[in-house]
Protein backbone atom coordinates (compact mmCIF):
# COMPACT_ATOMS: atom_id res chain seq x y z
CA UNK A 1 0.00 0.00 0.00
CA UNK A 2 1.23 3.52 -0.73
CA UNK A 3 2.32 5.72 2.14
CA UNK A 4 -0.74 7.73 3.07
CA UNK A 5 1.47 10.62 4.13
CA UNK A 6 2.56 11.32 0.59
CA UNK A 7 -0.62 11.81 -1.40
CA UNK A 8 -0.08 12.00 -5.14
CA UNK A 9 3.63 11.64 -4.68
CA UNK A 10 3.94 9.29 -7.56
CA UNK A 11 7.13 10.42 -9.20
CA UNK A 12 10.26 12.53 -8.84
CA UNK A 13 13.13 12.29 -6.38
CA UNK A 14 13.04 14.55 -3.33
CA UNK A 15 16.53 16.01 -3.38
CA UNK A 16 18.39 18.14 -5.83
CA UNK A 17 22.16 17.76 -5.88
CA UNK A 18 23.85 21.15 -5.47
CA UNK A 19 26.38 21.76 -8.23
CA UNK A 20 27.06 25.50 -7.94
CA UNK A 21 27.07 28.24 -5.32
CA UNK A 22 23.64 29.46 -6.39
CA UNK A 23 20.75 28.70 -4.00
CA UNK A 24 19.35 25.25 -4.69
CA UNK A 25 16.18 23.46 -3.78
CA UNK A 26 16.37 21.71 -0.40
CA UNK A 27 13.90 18.87 -0.68
CA UNK A 28 13.47 18.57 3.09
CA UNK A 29 12.11 22.04 3.84
CA UNK A 30 9.24 24.32 2.87
CA UNK A 31 10.19 27.44 0.94
CA UNK A 32 7.77 30.08 -0.24
CA UNK A 33 7.49 30.47 -4.00
CA UNK A 34 8.96 33.70 -5.39
CA UNK A 35 6.36 36.22 -6.50
CA UNK A 36 7.50 36.35 -10.12
CA UNK A 37 10.11 34.77 -12.39
CA UNK A 38 12.30 37.87 -11.85
CA UNK A 39 12.36 37.20 -8.10
CA UNK A 40 13.47 33.61 -8.56
CA UNK A 41 16.69 32.64 -6.74
CA UNK A 42 16.37 28.86 -6.72
CA UNK A 43 16.74 27.41 -10.20
CA UNK A 44 13.70 25.63 -11.53
CA UNK A 45 11.35 26.80 -8.79
CA UNK A 46 7.93 27.86 -10.06
CA UNK A 47 6.85 31.40 -9.23
CA UNK A 48 3.56 32.30 -7.62
CA UNK A 49 2.50 34.13 -10.79
CA UNK A 50 3.26 31.07 -12.91
CA UNK A 51 1.19 28.88 -10.60
CA UNK A 52 -1.76 31.27 -10.65
CA UNK A 53 -1.48 31.62 -14.44
CA UNK A 54 -1.38 27.85 -14.84
CA UNK A 55 -4.63 27.24 -12.96
CA UNK A 56 -6.29 30.11 -14.84
CA UNK A 57 -5.06 28.91 -18.25
CA UNK A 58 -5.61 25.21 -17.73
CA UNK A 59 -8.90 25.18 -15.81
CA UNK A 60 -10.20 28.74 -15.72
CA UNK A 61 -9.71 28.86 -11.94
CA UNK A 62 -8.67 32.46 -11.42
CA UNK A 63 -7.19 34.78 -8.86
CA UNK A 64 -10.66 35.38 -7.44
CA UNK A 65 -10.43 31.81 -6.08
CA UNK A 66 -6.69 31.31 -5.45
CA UNK A 67 -5.36 34.86 -5.04
CA UNK A 68 -5.42 34.86 -1.22
CA UNK A 69 -3.44 31.64 -0.78
CA UNK A 70 0.32 31.29 -0.43
CA UNK A 71 2.31 28.59 -2.23
CA UNK A 72 5.29 26.63 -0.94
CA UNK A 73 7.70 24.10 -2.39
CA UNK A 74 8.98 21.04 -0.57
CA UNK A 75 10.53 18.13 -2.39
CA UNK A 76 11.43 18.41 -6.01
CA UNK A 77 8.62 20.42 -7.51
CA UNK A 78 5.85 19.56 -5.08
CA UNK A 79 3.89 22.74 -4.43
CA UNK A 80 1.61 23.18 -1.39
CA UNK A 81 -1.31 25.60 -0.98
CA UNK A 82 -1.78 27.33 2.38
CA UNK A 83 -4.35 29.74 3.74
CA UNK A 84 -2.88 30.70 7.13
CA UNK A 85 -0.08 32.80 8.62
CA UNK A 86 3.51 31.66 8.20
CA UNK A 87 6.91 33.35 8.30
CA UNK A 88 9.49 30.61 8.11
CA UNK A 89 7.80 27.24 8.53
CA UNK A 90 10.74 25.55 6.89
CA UNK A 91 10.96 22.68 9.36
CA UNK A 92 7.32 21.83 9.97
CA UNK A 93 5.79 18.57 8.75
CA UNK A 94 3.13 20.08 6.50
CA UNK A 95 1.72 23.46 5.56
CA UNK A 96 -1.72 23.38 3.98
CA UNK A 97 -2.14 20.65 1.39
CA UNK A 98 -0.29 19.33 -1.65
CA UNK A 99 -1.52 21.16 -4.69
CA UNK A 100 0.56 20.84 -7.82
CA UNK A 101 3.55 18.94 -9.18
CA UNK A 102 5.95 21.26 -11.01
CA UNK A 103 9.52 20.79 -12.32
CA UNK A 104 8.24 18.56 -15.12
CA UNK A 105 7.09 19.33 -18.65
CA UNK A 106 3.40 18.97 -17.89
CA UNK A 107 2.41 20.22 -14.46
CA UNK A 108 0.03 17.92 -12.63
CA UNK A 109 -2.61 18.99 -10.11
CA UNK A 110 -3.17 16.71 -7.12
CA UNK A 111 -6.40 14.77 -6.69
CA UNK A 112 -7.11 16.64 -3.48
CA UNK A 113 -6.52 20.04 -5.06
CA UNK A 114 -8.95 19.14 -7.84
CA UNK A 115 -11.52 17.98 -5.30
CA UNK A 116 -11.01 21.16 -3.25
CA UNK A 117 -10.97 23.77 -6.03
CA UNK A 118 -12.25 21.94 -9.12
CA UNK A 119 -15.83 23.10 -8.72
CA UNK A 120 -14.62 26.54 -9.91
CA UNK A 121 -13.19 25.14 -13.17
CA UNK A 122 -14.67 26.36 -16.44
CA UNK A 123 -12.65 24.28 -18.91
CA UNK A 124 -10.84 20.97 -19.27
CA UNK A 125 -13.48 19.32 -17.13
CA UNK A 126 -14.81 16.02 -18.44
CA UNK A 127 -18.21 15.12 -17.00
CA UNK A 128 -18.54 11.35 -16.79
CA UNK A 129 -21.80 9.40 -16.81
CA UNK A 130 -22.57 7.27 -13.78
CA UNK A 131 -20.95 4.09 -15.11
CA UNK A 132 -17.81 5.88 -16.33
CA UNK A 133 -17.55 7.72 -12.99
CA UNK A 134 -17.60 4.43 -11.08
CA UNK A 135 -14.88 3.01 -13.35
CA UNK A 136 -12.82 6.19 -12.95
CA UNK A 137 -12.88 6.23 -9.15
CA UNK A 138 -11.90 2.56 -9.16
CA UNK A 139 -8.74 3.56 -11.02
CA UNK A 140 -9.68 2.10 -14.42
CA UNK A 141 -8.56 3.61 -17.72
CA UNK A 142 -11.31 3.86 -20.34
CA UNK A 143 -11.87 4.73 -23.98
CA UNK A 144 -13.44 8.17 -24.34
CA UNK A 145 -13.29 9.06 -28.05
CA UNK A 146 -16.11 11.63 -27.71
CA UNK A 147 -13.86 14.05 -25.77
CA UNK A 148 -12.82 16.79 -28.22
CA UNK A 149 -11.01 19.09 -25.79
CA UNK A 150 -7.36 19.32 -24.79
CA UNK A 151 -5.12 16.38 -24.16
CA UNK A 152 -3.24 16.12 -20.88
CA UNK A 153 -4.46 16.50 -17.33
CA UNK A 154 -8.21 17.02 -16.99
CA UNK A 155 -10.63 17.24 -14.11
CA UNK A 156 -13.03 14.29 -14.13
CA UNK A 157 -16.41 15.06 -12.58
CA UNK A 158 -19.89 13.59 -12.39
CA UNK A 159 -23.43 14.51 -11.44
CA UNK A 160 -24.29 13.87 -7.79
CA UNK A 161 -26.92 15.17 -5.38
CA UNK A 162 -28.22 18.07 -7.44
CA UNK A 163 -24.93 19.26 -8.92
CA UNK A 164 -21.60 18.21 -10.33
CA UNK A 165 -18.60 17.34 -8.21
CA UNK A 166 -14.97 16.76 -9.22
CA UNK A 167 -13.75 13.21 -8.63
CA UNK A 168 -10.08 13.54 -9.45
CA UNK A 169 -7.44 13.98 -12.13
CA UNK A 170 -7.57 12.19 -15.46
CA UNK A 171 -4.85 12.04 -18.09
CA UNK A 172 -6.32 12.17 -21.60
CA UNK A 173 -4.22 10.72 -24.42
CA UNK A 174 -5.17 9.07 -27.74
CA UNK A 175 -8.94 8.70 -27.14
CA UNK A 176 -8.30 7.26 -23.68
CA UNK A 177 -8.99 8.73 -20.23
CA UNK A 178 -6.53 7.35 -17.72
CA UNK A 179 -7.49 7.56 -14.08
CA UNK A 180 -4.63 8.89 -11.96
CA UNK A 181 -6.58 8.62 -8.71
CA UNK A 182 -3.93 7.50 -6.18
CA UNK A 183 -4.19 3.83 -5.20
CA UNK A 184 -5.08 4.64 -1.60
CA UNK A 185 -8.00 6.79 -2.72
CA UNK A 186 -9.54 4.37 -5.21
CA UNK A 187 -12.84 2.76 -4.32
CA UNK A 188 -15.32 0.29 -5.72
CA UNK A 189 -18.48 2.35 -5.75
CA UNK A 190 -21.84 1.79 -7.41
CA UNK A 191 -22.92 3.61 -10.57
CA UNK A 192 -25.62 5.93 -9.19
CA UNK A 193 -28.12 7.30 -11.74
Amino acid sequence: MRDASEPDDDDAPTNDVPTTDAPTNDGQRFDRLPETAEDREVAGRASREEVLDWWADRFGIGRDVLGEYTFWEKGAGKVWVFNGEADDPSRVEAIGMTFLRTRQEHWKPTTRAVQRFGEHATRNVVELDSEAAARFVAGEDQELPEWDGDWGYLIASHRIAGGTAPIGVGLYLYDELRSVVPKGSRADLPAVE
Partner: protein
Protein backbone atom coordinates in the same frame (compact mmCIF):
# COMPACT_ATOMS: atom_id res chain seq x y z
CA UNK B 1 -10.49 -6.74 37.16
CA UNK B 2 -12.64 -4.97 34.61
CA UNK B 3 -11.70 -1.30 35.13
CA UNK B 4 -15.30 -0.26 34.52
CA UNK B 5 -16.10 -1.65 37.99
CA UNK B 6 -14.12 1.09 39.69
CA UNK B 7 -16.36 3.78 38.16
CA UNK B 8 -19.64 2.21 39.29
CA UNK B 9 -19.81 4.44 42.43
CA UNK B 10 -19.81 7.47 40.09
CA UNK B 11 -22.73 6.52 37.85
CA UNK B 12 -26.46 6.83 38.48
CA UNK B 13 -27.48 3.47 36.98
CA UNK B 14 -24.80 0.81 37.18
CA UNK B 15 -26.74 -1.81 35.25
CA UNK B 16 -27.52 0.52 32.37
CA UNK B 17 -23.91 1.78 32.36
CA UNK B 18 -22.45 -1.73 32.09
CA UNK B 19 -25.03 -2.86 29.55
CA UNK B 20 -24.31 0.16 27.32
CA UNK B 21 -20.56 -0.45 27.56
CA UNK B 22 -21.12 -3.98 26.22
CA UNK B 23 -23.01 -2.86 23.11
CA UNK B 24 -21.05 -2.05 19.94
CA UNK B 25 -21.35 1.48 18.56
CA UNK B 26 -22.75 2.23 15.11
CA UNK B 27 -20.55 3.78 12.42
CA UNK B 28 -20.97 7.57 12.37
CA UNK B 29 -19.76 10.11 9.83
CA UNK B 30 -19.47 13.88 10.16
CA UNK B 31 -20.14 16.20 7.23
CA UNK B 32 -17.09 18.12 6.00
CA UNK B 33 -18.77 21.48 5.53
CA UNK B 34 -15.80 22.80 3.54
CA UNK B 35 -16.98 20.48 0.77
CA UNK B 36 -20.71 19.86 1.14
CA UNK B 37 -23.77 20.67 3.21
CA UNK B 38 -25.46 18.03 5.38
CA UNK B 39 -28.44 18.23 2.99
CA UNK B 40 -26.26 17.35 0.00
CA UNK B 41 -24.70 14.41 1.85
CA UNK B 42 -28.20 13.19 2.72
CA UNK B 43 -29.34 13.53 -0.91
CA UNK B 44 -26.32 11.54 -2.09
CA UNK B 45 -26.98 8.79 0.47
CA UNK B 46 -30.61 8.60 -0.62
CA UNK B 47 -29.79 8.47 -4.34
CA UNK B 48 -27.39 5.59 -3.72
CA UNK B 49 -29.62 3.72 -1.27
CA UNK B 50 -27.17 4.13 1.63
CA UNK B 51 -29.07 3.66 4.90
CA UNK B 52 -28.53 6.49 7.41
CA UNK B 53 -29.99 7.95 10.57
CA UNK B 54 -29.75 11.56 11.65
CA UNK B 55 -28.48 12.63 15.10
CA UNK B 56 -30.89 15.00 16.82
CA UNK B 57 -28.25 17.16 18.49
CA UNK B 58 -25.97 17.70 15.45
CA UNK B 59 -27.25 18.09 11.88
CA UNK B 60 -23.87 17.24 10.35
CA UNK B 61 -23.70 13.73 11.85
CA UNK B 62 -25.12 10.59 10.25
CA UNK B 63 -25.23 7.11 11.74
CA UNK B 64 -24.68 4.38 9.15
CA UNK B 65 -26.37 1.23 10.47
CA UNK B 66 -24.88 -0.90 7.68
CA UNK B 67 -21.35 0.24 8.51
CA UNK B 68 -18.73 0.77 5.78
CA UNK B 69 -18.42 4.56 6.20
CA UNK B 70 -15.79 4.67 3.44
CA UNK B 71 -17.80 2.75 0.84
CA UNK B 72 -19.87 5.52 -0.71
CA UNK B 73 -19.58 8.54 -3.00
CA UNK B 74 -19.80 11.25 -0.31
CA UNK B 75 -16.70 9.72 1.29
CA UNK B 76 -14.88 9.53 -2.05
CA UNK B 77 -15.50 13.26 -2.55
CA UNK B 78 -14.23 14.17 0.93
CA UNK B 79 -17.72 15.24 1.99
CA UNK B 80 -17.71 12.99 5.07
CA UNK B 81 -15.29 11.76 7.72
CA UNK B 82 -15.79 8.81 10.04
CA UNK B 83 -15.94 10.17 13.60
CA UNK B 84 -17.57 8.86 16.74
CA UNK B 85 -20.43 11.02 18.02
CA UNK B 86 -18.89 12.06 21.35
CA UNK B 87 -15.68 12.95 19.57
CA UNK B 88 -17.32 16.11 18.15
CA UNK B 89 -17.95 17.52 21.65
CA UNK B 90 -14.56 19.15 22.32
CA UNK B 91 -14.74 20.89 18.93
CA UNK B 92 -18.14 22.31 19.86
CA UNK B 93 -16.82 23.44 23.26
CA UNK B 94 -13.76 25.06 21.63
CA UNK B 95 -16.06 27.09 19.36
CA UNK B 96 -13.22 28.20 17.05
CA UNK B 97 -14.04 31.12 14.78
CA UNK B 98 -12.90 32.11 11.28
CA UNK B 99 -9.56 33.91 11.48
CA UNK B 100 -8.55 32.45 14.85
CA UNK B 101 -5.12 31.09 15.76
CA UNK B 102 -5.78 27.63 17.17
CA UNK B 103 -3.56 24.90 18.58
CA UNK B 104 -4.61 21.26 18.50
CA UNK B 105 -1.97 19.87 20.84
CA UNK B 106 -2.56 16.11 20.40
CA UNK B 107 -4.09 16.18 16.95
CA UNK B 108 -3.57 12.81 15.28
CA UNK B 109 -5.39 11.22 13.53
CA UNK B 110 -7.15 14.51 12.84
CA UNK B 111 -10.91 14.01 13.30
CA UNK B 112 -11.12 16.94 15.68
CA UNK B 113 -8.54 18.94 13.70
CA UNK B 114 -10.63 18.78 10.56
CA UNK B 115 -13.79 19.58 12.51
CA UNK B 116 -12.06 22.68 13.93
CA UNK B 117 -10.97 23.66 10.39
CA UNK B 118 -14.65 23.46 9.40
CA UNK B 119 -15.60 25.80 12.26
CA UNK B 120 -12.85 28.22 11.14
CA UNK B 121 -14.16 27.99 7.56
CA UNK B 122 -10.61 27.02 6.57
CA UNK B 123 -9.31 30.52 7.49
CA UNK B 124 -6.97 31.69 10.26
CA UNK B 125 -4.21 29.32 11.29
CA UNK B 126 -4.71 25.88 12.80
CA UNK B 127 -1.58 24.25 14.21
CA UNK B 128 -2.02 20.49 14.45
CA UNK B 129 0.66 18.87 16.58
CA UNK B 130 1.37 15.31 17.58
CA UNK B 131 4.43 13.65 19.06
CA UNK B 132 3.89 10.44 17.09
CA UNK B 133 5.21 10.68 13.54
CA UNK B 134 3.34 7.57 12.39
CA UNK B 135 0.01 8.92 13.59
CA UNK B 136 0.84 12.27 11.98
CA UNK B 137 0.81 10.62 8.57
CA UNK B 138 -2.82 9.63 9.22
CA UNK B 139 -3.56 13.21 10.26
CA UNK B 140 -2.00 14.57 7.07
CA UNK B 141 -3.92 12.08 4.97
CA UNK B 142 -7.22 13.05 6.60
CA UNK B 143 -6.57 16.79 6.37
CA UNK B 144 -5.73 16.47 2.66
CA UNK B 145 -8.67 14.20 2.00
CA UNK B 146 -11.01 16.84 3.43
CA UNK B 147 -9.28 19.72 1.63
CA UNK B 148 -8.03 21.62 4.69
CA UNK B 149 -5.66 24.45 3.69
CA UNK B 150 -5.31 26.45 6.94
CA UNK B 151 -3.37 23.79 8.87
CA UNK B 152 0.31 23.66 9.84
CA UNK B 153 1.35 20.20 11.02
CA UNK B 154 4.11 19.94 13.65
CA UNK B 155 5.83 17.01 15.35
CA UNK B 156 6.74 18.10 18.87
CA UNK B 157 6.30 16.97 22.46
CA UNK B 158 3.30 19.12 23.40
CA UNK B 159 4.58 19.52 26.98
CA UNK B 160 7.34 21.84 25.79
CA UNK B 161 5.87 22.95 22.49
CA UNK B 162 7.82 25.73 20.81
CA UNK B 163 6.04 28.39 18.76
CA UNK B 164 9.31 29.18 16.98
CA UNK B 165 8.22 27.74 13.59
CA UNK B 166 5.07 29.91 13.68
CA UNK B 167 4.34 33.50 12.68
CA UNK B 168 2.96 34.24 16.17
CA UNK B 169 3.69 33.23 19.75
CA UNK B 170 0.28 32.79 21.33
CA UNK B 171 -2.99 31.20 20.37
CA UNK B 172 -6.60 32.35 20.71
CA UNK B 173 -7.72 28.81 21.50
CA UNK B 174 -6.18 25.46 22.26
CA UNK B 175 -7.55 21.95 22.37
CA UNK B 176 -5.91 19.30 24.54
CA UNK B 177 -7.59 16.05 23.52
CA UNK B 178 -5.17 14.15 25.67
CA UNK B 179 -3.72 10.67 25.32
CA UNK B 180 -5.53 8.64 27.97
CA UNK B 181 -6.48 5.17 29.14
CA UNK B 182 -9.46 5.23 26.76
CA UNK B 183 -12.03 3.11 28.63
CA UNK B 184 -14.67 5.31 27.01
CA UNK B 185 -13.86 3.75 23.65
CA UNK B 186 -14.60 0.20 24.89
CA UNK B 187 -17.70 -0.01 22.69
CA UNK B 188 -15.46 0.37 19.63
CA UNK B 189 -12.41 -1.43 20.97
CA UNK B 190 -13.02 -3.77 23.94
CA UNK B 191 -9.28 -4.55 24.07
CA UNK B 192 -8.71 -1.28 25.96
CA UNK B 193 -10.28 -2.91 29.02
CA UNK B 194 -7.90 -5.89 28.92
CA UNK B 195 -4.86 -3.67 28.49
CA UNK B 196 -5.85 -1.24 31.27
CA UNK B 197 -3.49 -0.83 34.24
CA UNK B 198 -3.49 1.59 37.16
CA UNK B 199 0.21 2.27 36.51
CA UNK B 200 -0.65 3.53 33.05
CA UNK B 201 -3.38 5.78 34.48
CA UNK B 202 -0.88 7.40 36.86
CA UNK B 203 1.80 7.68 34.20
CA UNK B 204 -0.40 9.23 31.56
CA UNK B 205 -1.90 11.65 34.12
CA UNK B 206 1.55 13.23 34.49
CA UNK B 207 1.75 13.73 30.73
CA UNK B 208 -1.76 15.19 30.65
CA UNK B 209 -0.86 17.75 33.34
CA UNK B 210 2.21 18.81 31.37
CA UNK B 211 0.32 19.22 28.11
CA UNK B 212 -2.60 21.12 29.63
CA UNK B 213 -0.24 23.47 31.50
CA UNK B 214 1.64 24.22 28.26
CA UNK B 215 -1.67 24.87 26.44
CA UNK B 216 -2.68 27.44 29.08
CA UNK B 217 0.75 29.10 28.81
CA UNK B 218 0.56 29.22 25.00
CA UNK B 219 -2.92 30.78 24.91
CA UNK B 220 -3.47 34.54 25.18
CA UNK B 221 -5.17 36.11 28.22
CA UNK B 222 -8.93 35.71 27.84
CA UNK B 223 -8.48 32.86 25.39
CA UNK B 224 -10.04 29.40 25.60
CA UNK B 225 -8.50 26.03 26.34
CA UNK B 226 -10.57 22.86 26.08
CA UNK B 227 -9.45 19.67 27.82
CA UNK B 228 -10.95 16.34 26.82
CA UNK B 229 -10.32 12.63 27.23
CA UNK B 230 -12.15 9.41 26.50
CA UNK B 231 -11.58 7.98 29.98
CA UNK B 232 -13.76 7.88 33.09
CA UNK B 233 -10.74 7.96 35.43
CA UNK B 234 -10.85 11.02 37.74
CA UNK B 235 -7.03 10.76 37.99
CA UNK B 236 -6.90 11.71 34.28
CA UNK B 237 -9.76 14.21 34.34
CA UNK B 238 -10.66 16.24 37.43
CA UNK B 239 -7.25 15.66 39.07
CA UNK B 240 -5.52 17.06 35.97
CA UNK B 241 -7.79 20.13 36.01
CA UNK B 242 -7.22 20.59 39.75
CA UNK B 243 -3.46 20.51 39.22
CA UNK B 244 -3.50 23.06 36.40
CA UNK B 245 -5.91 25.37 38.26
CA UNK B 246 -3.32 25.52 41.06
CA UNK B 247 -0.24 25.85 38.84
CA UNK B 248 -1.40 28.15 36.02
CA UNK B 249 -3.43 31.36 35.67
CA UNK B 250 -6.76 30.00 34.45
CA UNK B 251 -10.28 29.12 35.57
CA UNK B 252 -12.91 26.59 34.59
CA UNK B 253 -15.94 28.15 32.95
CA UNK B 254 -19.47 26.77 32.78
CA UNK B 255 -20.65 25.68 29.34
CA UNK B 256 -23.42 23.55 27.92
CA UNK B 257 -23.19 20.53 25.66
CA UNK B 258 -26.15 19.46 23.53
CA UNK B 259 -26.66 16.07 25.19
CA UNK B 260 -27.16 14.63 28.66
CA UNK B 261 -24.04 14.82 30.86
CA UNK B 262 -23.02 14.52 34.51
CA UNK B 263 -20.89 17.11 36.34
CA UNK B 264 -17.23 16.53 37.16
CA UNK B 265 -16.58 14.89 40.53
CA UNK B 266 -14.92 16.68 43.45
CA UNK B 267 -13.73 13.62 45.38
CA UNK B 268 -12.14 10.33 44.38
CA UNK B 269 -10.03 7.70 46.08
CA UNK B 270 -9.25 9.86 49.11
CA UNK B 271 -8.45 12.99 47.09
CA UNK B 272 -10.58 16.11 46.79
CA UNK B 273 -10.57 18.57 43.92
CA UNK B 274 -11.41 22.23 43.39
CA UNK B 275 -15.18 22.76 43.47
CA UNK B 276 -15.15 24.31 40.00
CA UNK B 277 -14.39 20.93 38.40
CA UNK B 278 -18.16 20.36 38.55
CA UNK B 279 -18.26 22.71 35.54
CA UNK B 280 -16.70 19.94 33.46
CA UNK B 281 -18.91 17.38 31.72
CA UNK B 282 -18.82 13.60 32.09
CA UNK B 283 -20.51 11.71 29.27
CA UNK B 284 -21.58 8.18 30.18
CA UNK B 285 -22.46 5.64 27.48
CA UNK B 286 -25.94 4.83 28.85
CA UNK B 287 -27.14 8.45 28.88
CA UNK B 288 -27.06 9.07 25.13
CA UNK B 289 -26.07 5.67 23.71
CA UNK B 290 -22.58 6.95 22.83
CA UNK B 291 -19.01 6.27 23.85
CA UNK B 292 -17.71 7.64 27.16
CA UNK B 293 -16.11 11.09 27.31
CA UNK B 294 -14.91 13.95 29.49
CA UNK B 295 -14.77 17.62 28.47
CA UNK B 296 -13.82 20.83 30.30
CA UNK B 297 -13.47 24.43 29.17
CA UNK B 298 -10.99 26.90 30.67
CA UNK B 299 -10.54 30.63 30.37
CA UNK B 300 -6.93 31.77 30.46
CA UNK B 301 -6.45 34.44 33.12
CA UNK B 302 -5.33 38.03 32.79
CA UNK B 303 -6.88 40.99 30.99
CA UNK B 304 -7.84 40.22 27.44
CA UNK B 305 -10.67 39.78 25.03
CA UNK B 306 -12.89 37.25 26.69
CA UNK B 307 -14.05 34.32 24.59
CA UNK B 308 -15.05 31.67 27.05
CA UNK B 309 -17.08 33.48 29.70
CA UNK B 310 -19.43 35.14 27.21
CA UNK B 311 -20.35 31.74 25.90
CA UNK B 312 -23.33 30.97 28.12
CA UNK B 313 -25.66 29.81 25.38
CA UNK B 314 -25.88 26.17 24.50
CA UNK B 315 -23.11 25.15 22.16
CA UNK B 316 -24.76 24.96 18.78
CA UNK B 317 -24.15 22.12 16.38
Amino acid sequence: MNPLERYQPLVDDVEAFRAACDRPLPSVVRTNTLAASPARVRDAFEAAGVAYETVDWHDGLFRLPDGNPGGNWPHAHGWTHGQEEVSVLPGLALDAQPGDRVWDACAAPGSKTTQIANAMDDTGTLVANDNNLGRLSALRHNAERLGVTNVIVTNQDARNFSTKPLAFDEFDRALVDAPCSCEGTCRKNPDVLDQWTLDHVHGVAGIQKGILARAVQATRPGGTVVYSTCTFAPEENEAVLDHVLREEDCELVPFDLPLKTAPGVTAWDGETYDDSVTRAHRVYPHHNDTGGFFCAKLRVGGPGRDDAASDDAEVGA
